[in-house]
Symmetry: C3
Subunit: 266 residues, 3 copies
């Protein structure tokens, strides 16, 4: 690939507004700082008009939902739509409970998302495809992931991203498959949540016609940072991977991206 | 000891439902992943019937209590009792305030706990034994910890675990004393919360008649992982211990357990 | 400098009550443990009279405000004032939204703060000085930071601390400038939040006439721990800095402080 957005992200240092959960909040903020963005983590209903207005992207993550957080997500999402900044949805564990299904349904009805990023189980649920998800984890299934990504993209008029051993990214017509990564990713919590946040950071520095390219680069950047972080580690160095991933996100260069990226299109 | 549950935990990868606090959420989830379980961290009242039903154990931690979390704990606990999955209580800082006392009392009145795990100050409070606890830390006292464990176990019909330099585990008649560990444990926050979560993971793969043995193995596994993580560290490498503990939880083998465990019974 | 409070902090191990946000909670608790304090992280409205009463300092951080947290902050602050323990305010991102401005205004009207610690953008807002803050980050401006610190200190009858490349500490008449630190500090989230917590820990072991000196030592200790942690690291080892800062806070000695401190007075 020819990296285009990473340098711009580092130069512009965009403010990325995150409404996220108590598990992912610290790690997502640290990951955003590492890649070069400026995180603002707020779910205060009272400031959900003002915070999106000073931000260049909004990321909504339904991992934990306490108090007035759903109202905050809807208000922030509507504001983001009005002012035209990109919005990412991370439908954490959406298939697991009726409450999560209703929450995501309410969000999808009221907010237009630029991108939806989840694991196979989450996007299979959104595509109404049979899948054995496991709580907030991907679980197992046999459906074609490229078709699931296309279906979610078409149904919601967004870019759909299924992350896993291979990442599938669809804008409804084009499909990109990313082969980078490491088996250590699912060993640390919130690694998916952070990827959603990083999608927001890359969208924040792209024009709408480049959103598909920006998300391919963002997902590649994250997978490659993990791949490089994992190189010197054994399969059980979960803690070191947690630390090394932040280091590699911070030192990742466009040259790394160009050299490491394994992307194919269908 | 003869490890029996660790391999099973790694094979079955049980879903462990955690209702926990904003300090412990990330670390507990990472620790559960490292030991081989699959964490789901949710305190959403609206899904407290469904989440326990897909889980193999429930862990309730009263560290921070915002919004409707107490209602969520009661509902999840009752559901867990109905379907027969094990439930662990971590009564964080219970002696410190009237509110925590009332919360724990309400929980104990409405939910049957398989195990209660806390530090000496917390279990002394539950046993109605004099003790100078210090906030959420163990504090100091002179009472016999084995007797406190027995008393809590008998009073609440559960397995009582007092963790500290020596861990005391009682099922009301038997008492196990575990001598593994490291002084670095109390230097990192939420190390007790994570142990409670790991107790849930070991219970998740045990039959009721094996719960006592499973908790002894789970507490030993945690203490030994910490002991191994601390071996190359000085007494002030708190940050490295935070990281190394996750690594050692992930690479801990049944052989490590059998070799390192220092358990005596009374 | 001649270190006076660090040894006392390690001996007395004061309980520091923190009302803080979901991003900073874990890191602040770990940092407090590392420096030698005992953290209690609670925003439960129901215990905001009792927790300050067992604590030696209170730290209020407005980073994320959900549910009844503002009421909790006011009640804890009033209690702390009544019993005479020091109170620190961290007005995270106060300039960014009307809601944060109103929250901080309500706090300042009802609670007497011993110290207010923030970045340049936050204290410029409080001093009513023009500044281009960026979300919760410092942003850019041209005003004189020493004068801003003096103005905040005089206006609110407190010690004002502006942290950044140089730290400015004013008690309204004296001004201390601290030149320690590392550019890695703003690369990890909640590094300001943890500094506010550490200010609380140093105040907890000082008499009121020594508060200014205690805060100078506390801010120096934090900056020096970061400086030492950064020595072996490159500018992009964000993750290693996160870990190393905790290690260095734990092993920092009065001798380190005396040797490294670069403080000037105006």
């Amino acid at each position: 690939m020819q990296s285009k957005f990473l340098s711009r992200l580092r130069e512009r240092n965009p403010l990325v507004h995150n409404i996220t959960n108590i598990v992912a909040a610290n790690f997502s903020a640290n990951g955003l700082l590492a890649i070069g963005a400026s995180p603002i983590m707020s779910a205060n209903l009272e400031e959900m008009v003002e915070v999106p207005k000073i931000s260049q992207a909004l990321v909504i993550n339904i991992g934990t939902l306490l108090g007035k957080e759903i109202d905050a997500m809807v208000l922030a999402g509507k504001t983001a739509n009005e002012i035209g900044i990109p919005v990412v949805l991370d439908p954490v564990g959406v298939g697991a409970t009726t409450f999560r299904q209703q929450t995501v349904s309410a969000l999808l009805n009221q907010v237009k998302f630029t991108a939806i990023r989840g694991n196979a189980g989450e996007l299979a649920y959104l595509a109404n495809v049979q899948w054995a998800a496991k709580g907030v984890d991907a679980g197992n299934g046999k459906a074609n992931l490229g078709e699931i990504a296309h279906k979610v993209a078409r149904q919601y008029g967004c870019i759909a991203i299924i992350s896993g051993e291979t990442d599938f990214i669809s804008d409804g017509s084009r499909l990109a498959k990313l082969q980078n990564g490491t088996p250590l990713f699912p060993k640390i919590t919130a690694s998916g949540c952070l990827l959603s946040a990083i999608c927001g950071a890359f969208l924040a520095v792209a024009e709408p016609q480049d959103y598909f390219a920006a998300l391919i680069e963002g997902c590649s950047a994250y997978a490659i940072a993990g791949e490089i972080a994992a190189e010197p580690l054994s399969a059980t160095q979960n803690g070191q991977f947690f630390v090394g991933l932040l280091d590699q996100l911070a030192c990742l260069s466009p040259e790394h991206l160009n050299q490491y990226a394994r992307i194919s299109y269908e």
